[in-house]
């Protein structure tokens, strides 16, 4: 502690501050046009392993908000985004949920990415009747569908929770029917990453594939984060499968398909919406050729709005790729924005009244999104049962079959 030295540091700091800030123009006070501000929250992992996927969600919401502001979709209001990092952990999720609930300007939330985080976020949101739309959760318990599997009655656990993706018990069987009936797979190997999404999807797939008459090998598991899957592949190879279903996300799926084919096991890999990403084909390269992935809704490449989204996203120069859930996040944000436009149009509301109204408006939503038409049932699940199987052709996912799940 030598005060003179501190003076020597502090004085230039003060002068420097003045010099640096001296240039500039007088700011107009009072804001632009008397517009009030409403905020859409985002809860997703923005740091760590899953940050690329989480940031894809965040950026897509950001894009939706910017476009809505340009088009003045919600008249008299400027929309902003408040993105919170849940670090893919349930307890952090509860904290950021409380933070968003406490911020009175927040009238809707997109997220979270992980089902386990959703289970701590949704109760807090439901308590405040703050609408929450997940672009990626597929776990059956989140909307009470778990009871259906075991033969009980479905009860909605979280009154303000919605999702725009299919739950595992729809996407998995749809993929299985395609694998068995269209690809004519006989001996199917199943691998998943032992995470909620991957396992749920793989188990639903296995059940349906067995029912449809295929031989399903004993399920193998890999660890998310691992890169060397040779032991699992060797084990599978000895059992001579002709098809592989992978429950999980694209980072591991792309490595798996590469190593599969290098090891001489040249069978197609199929995944869910967690695999249906341009990143998958980018990383796996030629090895991905002929692989399949399913996703909810009509083919995105046939809708002009979907193409426009991809173009706009690229033009915005975000640091992260769209990822598998960007399009769903974009739709989720737009559903909230449409609900806001509807709720605010009928007189000036704010606070809890507005949140209640927005939740109601989302429940009644009927929105033409880039992933198809979006409506919700009384449990918060999307009513869309149209799914598409994509196949990799010349390094791109192209629609192979679109059908309604029965």
């Amino acid at each position: 502690m030598h005060p003179p030295r501190l003076v020597r540091i502090a004085a230039p700091l003060l002068i420097g501050a003045l010099v640096l800030s001296a240039c500039g123009s007088k700011k107009e006070s009072g804001g632009s046009s008397g517009n009030k501000t409403l905020t859409i929250g985002v809860v997703a992992p923005l740091s760590g392993d899953l940050s690329a996927v989480g940031n894809g969600i965040k950026n897509s919401v950001d894009l939706a908000i910017k476009q809505a502001n340009e088009k003045k979709t919600v008249k008299g209001y400027t929309l902003t985004m408040d993105a919170q990092d849940d670090t893919a952990k349930a307890d952090v999720g509860a904290t950021v949920a409380a933070k968003l609930v406490a911020s009175s300007g927040v009238v809707g939330v997109v997220g979270p990415l992980n089902s386990s985080v959703a289970k701590s976020v949704a109760p807090v949101m439901a308590q405040a009747d703050l609408v929450e739309i997940s672009p990626s959760n597929s776990n059956v318990d989140l909307t009470g569908r778990g009871a259906l599997v075991t033969g009980g009655t479905q009860v909605r656990p979280y009154k303000s929770y919605f999702r725009v993706v299919a739950s595992d018990d729809i996407q998995g069987p749809f993929a299985a029917q395609f694998a068995v009936k269209t690809v004519m797979a006989k001996t199917i190997a199943i691998v998943h990453d032992k995470k909620a999404y991957g396992q749920g999807l793989a188990e639903a797939f296995a059940k349906e594939a067995t029912k449809d008459g295929a031989t399903v090998l004993k399920t193998e598991t890999i660890n998310p984060g691992d890169k060397d899957f040779s032991a699992t592949i060797t084990k599978l190879k000895a059992q001579k499968p002709d098809f592989l279903f992978y429950g999980g996300e694209y980072p591991e799926a792309s490595l798996l398909t590469k190593q599969l084919k290098s090891a001489g096991l040249k069978i197609p890999l199929m995944g869910g919406d967690g695999v249906q990403s341009d990143e998958y084909t980018k990383i796996a390269g030629a090895a991905a050729e002929g692989d399949y992935a399913t996703a909810l809704g009509a083919p995105t490449d046939s809708l002009a709005s979907a193409k426009q989204f991809v173009t706009d996203y690229a033009a915005a120069k975000y640091a992260d790729p769209i990822g598998p859930y960007g399009a769903y996040a974009y739709d989720a944000a737009n559903v909230i924005i449409a609900a806001l436009a509807k709720s605010t149009a009928s007189g000036s509301k704010s606070g809890q009244a507005l949140r209640d109204d927005v939740t109601k408006a989302v429940q009644d939503a009927n929105y033409d999104g880039i992933t198809g038409k979006i409506t919700f049932d009384q449990f918060g699940d999307t009513t869309v049962k149209v799914l598409t199987v994509y196949q990799v052709k010349s390094g791109k996912f192209v629609a192979a079959k679109t059908d309604t799940f029965k």
Partner: protein, 571 residues
Amino acid sequence: MTSQTIPEARVRSAPDLGVLLTGAGALLLVGSALLPWAGYAGFPGKMTLSGYPGGARLYVLLLALPALALLRPLPGRAAALRAAANVELAVVALTVYFVAYAGGGFVNVGGGVYPAMIGAILYLVGSRRLPTSEAVAEGVALPDASWRFPVESLVVAGTAGLALWLFVIGLGMPSSSIASGSDLTLGPLSINDVANSGQFLAYVITIAGVALVAGRLGLLKSLTIMTGRHPKLFVAAGFIAAAAFPFTQNGSGESLSIAARIGVFAAAAVGLNIVVGLAGLLDLGYIAFFGVGAYFGALVSGSVTSVTGVHLPFALTIVLGGLVSGIFGLLLGAPTLRLRGDYLAIVTLGFGEIFRITVNNLDGSAGPSLTNGPNGVSNIPDLALGSFNFGANHTLFGIDLSFQSNYYWLELLLLAFVMTSFLRLSESRIGRAWVAIREDELAAAATGINTTRLKLLAFALGATLAGAAGTVNAHVVKVAAPDSFTFIESATLLAAIILGGMGTVPGALLGATVLYLLPEKLRFLHDLRLLVFGIALVLIMRFRPEGLVASKRRAREFHDHETDPAAEAVA
């Protein structure tokens, strides 16, 4: 310490000028705090209002207050005021810079900025002209009189209140930011983030400054003497202050949610402190015991996703959760405790991972059905105590309380219990035996201490406390899932007690607060959040390797070479 740099003659010839300048500077600063600092709306702290010292102006005000010491020639006065002036200048400069930057130029600052800058410079120059005396500030010892007790109690309780108040300011600071809608972005940071970071930086500097000034005036020493005389009062006042926290929140649950999380992890950290801090057993898998409690709590909570379908009363759940976890501690400890040091560390790391992998697999397909695997046990119902539902918002004394306050109080109780256990244990025969084992296991064994049994006991007791904390946390978070019990969580808990200071309760509390609050308060940095957090960890260890609140003995070990009396006073 400064006498060699300031010419003696000048100091002696112009004592009155120093007092005058310092006083004038302080008055200007106080005045400036009541004037608007920003010429535009939107900067945190209502900087456009006059007559209201909001935002960073509060810190300016706070740091001008030590000038009251000019009224009496207290020992250490000059040193304290020099410190105050340094920090004041930094806070003023920082705030002016950020206000101007976020406003788009210096032309957008408010009228209060000018007196503040002049005041800060006068304050600085004046404080350097104050006569210095060789006398080092001693703690103020009050005479033994009938009024001593009430005065000291008041001071002790007031300190607890002040600490809470500072904490509230810190927690309440805007940390989330609104990113979209404005095109003004600086790389990954928006203007709003810049404003928030300036505000937070000023806050941290001010707290450090206040501690420094208090140390130089001998106030910290007096406080130590007084709290030492009334330890129970201090703890009680602290807890009452903490319990009053929800009433300051206007029905919002944001800060409470963070505070509750800090509380539960602080409780776990205190438990870990028994194992690492007292008994010296390096445990890198401690979160597993927390997890055992959490899963136990979730499984008997009556949740629809629990395979047991059992619903036990919560009080029983906590006790049983702790016990089950303690039994796990015994089972794991028995074969491994003869390992030493880092070998024990990796074995505990291994057990932690085995626990996580196992609960991830016990779902009926990769193992027996118990935990729902990666989905975890979710939809844990809210607690209810008679007709009092923990999941509902309440109103008490006309103040709105969010439902998070119920859980906050529950965790405060848990924390109180864990702290009491720790203090009782550490002062008992057992506690002294643990410390003996930590210092030298062979010597301890030679004095007749049954080291194996005592190490096992430390392991089991630590596990029990973690288990109890885990059962509570499962009800707060409403889900027990494997993702929450990774190695990183164990490392963070360990970091909390090392950072705070090993073997002390305040250390564990402070460490947990820093480690769980810092990432929350750094949210305005968005993508750079963890980057800055990593640097902060490195820096804290670099400058206080013995932890923020070290036991006296450890502090002396590592700061002996520093002869600066002020540094010692703060330490």
